[in-house]
């Protein structure tokens, strides 16, 4: 069992759906003591395989709810379906469903933290919105806190 990993989830070609990927890359640039992984969607088989070797995992994904774009927050697993559903709905089952499946199959790491960044838009081919781009360092700090806390 390896110690810790950070997983960025999303599609960098779909606007703010790339938020998780951007944060994962920021973390990878800042520290070498954790494995940093990228998942393009919440494919359950791929995600559970990726998480399997680790004791502690922090997952970062875009959220869609009623808070300000760029808001960074810890998302309790039980609430994941409510706020993550839309981001993943364009591709595959979605992260929330993959995590719920993992819980039922007892295939999740001992410590799992989910960090969300509220998205502004998901246009094909566009980059991060200004609000989300500005939130990336804050989200990376939240990841560090979750890893070291």
């Amino acid at each position: 069992v390896r110690e810790a990993a950070v997983v960025g989830v999303g599609n960098a070609d779909r606007g703010d759906d790339g938020a998780g990927i951007a944060v994962a890359r920021a973390v990878a640039a800042a520290r070498s003591d954790v494995d940093v992984l990228e998942q393009a969607n919440g494919d359950p088989a791929a995600l559970l395989d990726a998480l399997a070797p680790y004791r502690r995992v922090v997952i970062v994904d875009a959220t869609v709810s009623d808070v300000e774009p760029g808001t960074v927050r810890l998302v309790p697993l039980a609430e994941a379906a409510g706020v993550l559903a839309r981001t993943a709905s364009s591709h595959g089952l979605g992260l929330a469903t993959a995590l719920a499946l993992g819980r039922e199959l007892r295939a999740l790491p001992d410590e799992l933290t989910l960090i969300g960044i509220e998205a502004d838009g998901f246009d094909h081919g566009s980059g991060l919105s200004p609000a989300v781009a500005a939130a990336v360092p804050r989200a990376a700090a939240a990841v560090a806190a979750a890893l070291d806390g």
Binding site: P44, A46, S89, L101, L105
Partner: protein
């Protein structure tokens, strides 16, 4: 839901998002008395974004750009795009590259069908809200299903270079051929996956299939010597048989008022069906012995696929086929030979098709002498099936109009999922609305 008087006169069922389809759109059903007046599938498409985006790009970029349309079937997009551009450039794939295309495509069929059968469609038959509840009650079945999907993921990773948006495919073939050893490591997983696919087929054969029968023209690709996946002529259950270059003469894309995606029809023939049911029904005799015998054992015949709810069995049999075919290709793989044939641009138009998990996917490109794309046209399987989905829903609602709204809604959603509609290829949001008076 609102009612007036003894008999419901105006009822509207509205679902904010139709779960368990890839992407979202909107379905509206209008009922007056016992007559289903209208069924409309509306798709909110970023209109033809990719076709516009492709104009002016180098032809070699098209497979990668279009594969990003869909996270579920990137191989289909890459293959149809490459087929079209290879045709435009007059390139023939080296035999090893052609085999590898087929193997890669088997991986995508396995990934896509396993996901749909187990986690998206089975819940409808078992009375569950989602695959999560199946995992709660039948964890071993879900584990085996995920292992099956993983075997597909591993093929795509090994051949495509990575799992999502694979990068190894290029116009003319592949950037590199995997070694015999690299593909050999997939073997054990695939043998287990083939067993799991057989088992899943037997489980699905035990489901209760709602009554619905329709006689629609079924369209798929055909190759002379094998069950078509990565290319072929376009054939139908009613005798159509044409080369891909004739596609524009046979397939008409129509704009319908309720959707900003296009609906495809056959010229002079009307709506049609593409996908696993069409492939199994039309190419039944070409299934190799293992999937063919399994189909016989579970009572899957071409005629039985007139019931769209039985599409899950067609997908299961194709899972058995794809795992078996992948093993055959791996066992015959040497790793030697040319990875690609050089593709030099010339001013031309090229057409390409392949069998995406959901059905025929057509691409057409016009390029100039420098290889810049002047025009692109993409017809995804879901836009071809839309008119048939609407017709199914019309029949289903008419036959079950006495059901309470919530049951009718569930049945309608189930019917839409028979097509595994990949709305993300064409759209953003799907919701279902039944309006009665």
């Amino acid at each position: 839901v609102s009612t007036t008087g003894k008999r419901p006169r105006a009822r509207t069922i509205k679902v904010e998002a139709l779960a368990r389809v890839e992407g979202e759109g909107a379905m509206r059903v209008r009922v007056r008395g016992d007559v289903v007046e209208r069924v409309e599938l509306a798709i909110y498409e970023p209109p033809r974004f990719f076709e516009a985006f492709l104009r002016g790009r180098d032809f070699r970029e098209a497979p990668d750009i279009t594969s990003r349309i869909c996270g579920i079937c990137p191989i289909a997009y890459q293959t149809s795009a490459a087929n079209a551009l290879e045709s435009a450039c007059g390139v023939t794939l080296p035999p090893q590259a052609a085999d590898l295309r087929r193997l890669l495509y088997c991986g995508e069929w396995i990934e896509s069908h396993a996901l749909h059968v187990l986690l998206l469609h089975a819940p409808d038959f078992l009375g569950y809200e989602s695959g999560i509840e199946i995992a709660k009650d039948h964890p071993d079945l879900v584990r085996r299903g995920l292992n099956l999907k993983r075997a597909g993921n591993r093929i795509v990773t090994a051949v495509g270079g990575r799992e999502i948006h694979p990068v190894n495919l290029r116009v003319g073939g592949f950037y590199s051929l995997p070694s015999r050893e690299a593909l050999g490591t997939l073997r054990d997983d695939l043998v287990a996956a083939r067993d799991a696919a057989c088992e899943l087929t037997e489980v699905a054969a035990g489901f209760t299939f709602p009554d619905l029968e329709r006689d629609v023209e079924m369209v798929c690709l055909r190759q002379p010597d094998r069950y078509a996946i990565e290319g072929g002529r376009i054939v139908s259950s009613r005798g159509l048989d044409f080369a891909v270059e004739e596609w524009p003469a046979h397939v008409i894309e129509e704009h319908v008022s309720w959707s900003n995606a296009l609906q495809a029809r056959l010229a002079g023939r009307g709506r049609y069906l593409v996908g696993p049911s069409a492939r199994v029904a039309v190419n039944f005799e070409q299934l190799p012995s293992l999937p063919r015998e399994l189909a016989d054992r579970v009572g899957l015949t071409p005629a039985s696929l007139k019931n769209p709810f039985r599409s899950i069995l067609a997908r299961c049999v194709e899972l058995v086929f794809a795992t078996d075919e992948a093993l055959r290709l791996i066992d015959g793989w040497t790793g030697d030979g040319e990875a690609f044939a050089p593709a030099e641009p010339r001013a031309a138009t090229g057409h390409g098709v392949s069998e995406a998990p959901r059905g025929v996917l057509y691409h057409r490109y016009t390029i100039d002498g420098d290889g810049l794309i002047e025009a692109a046209d993409i017809v995804p399987p879901t836009s071809q099936n839309q008119a048939t989905i609407e017709d199914d829903l019309r029949k289903l609602v008419a036959a079950n109009v006495a059901l309470p709204d919530d049951e009718l809604q569930r049945l309608s959603e189930h019917a839409i999922r028979n097509y595994d509609p990949c709305i993300s290829c064409a759209t953003h949001f799907l919701k279902l609305e039944v309006d009665r008076a």
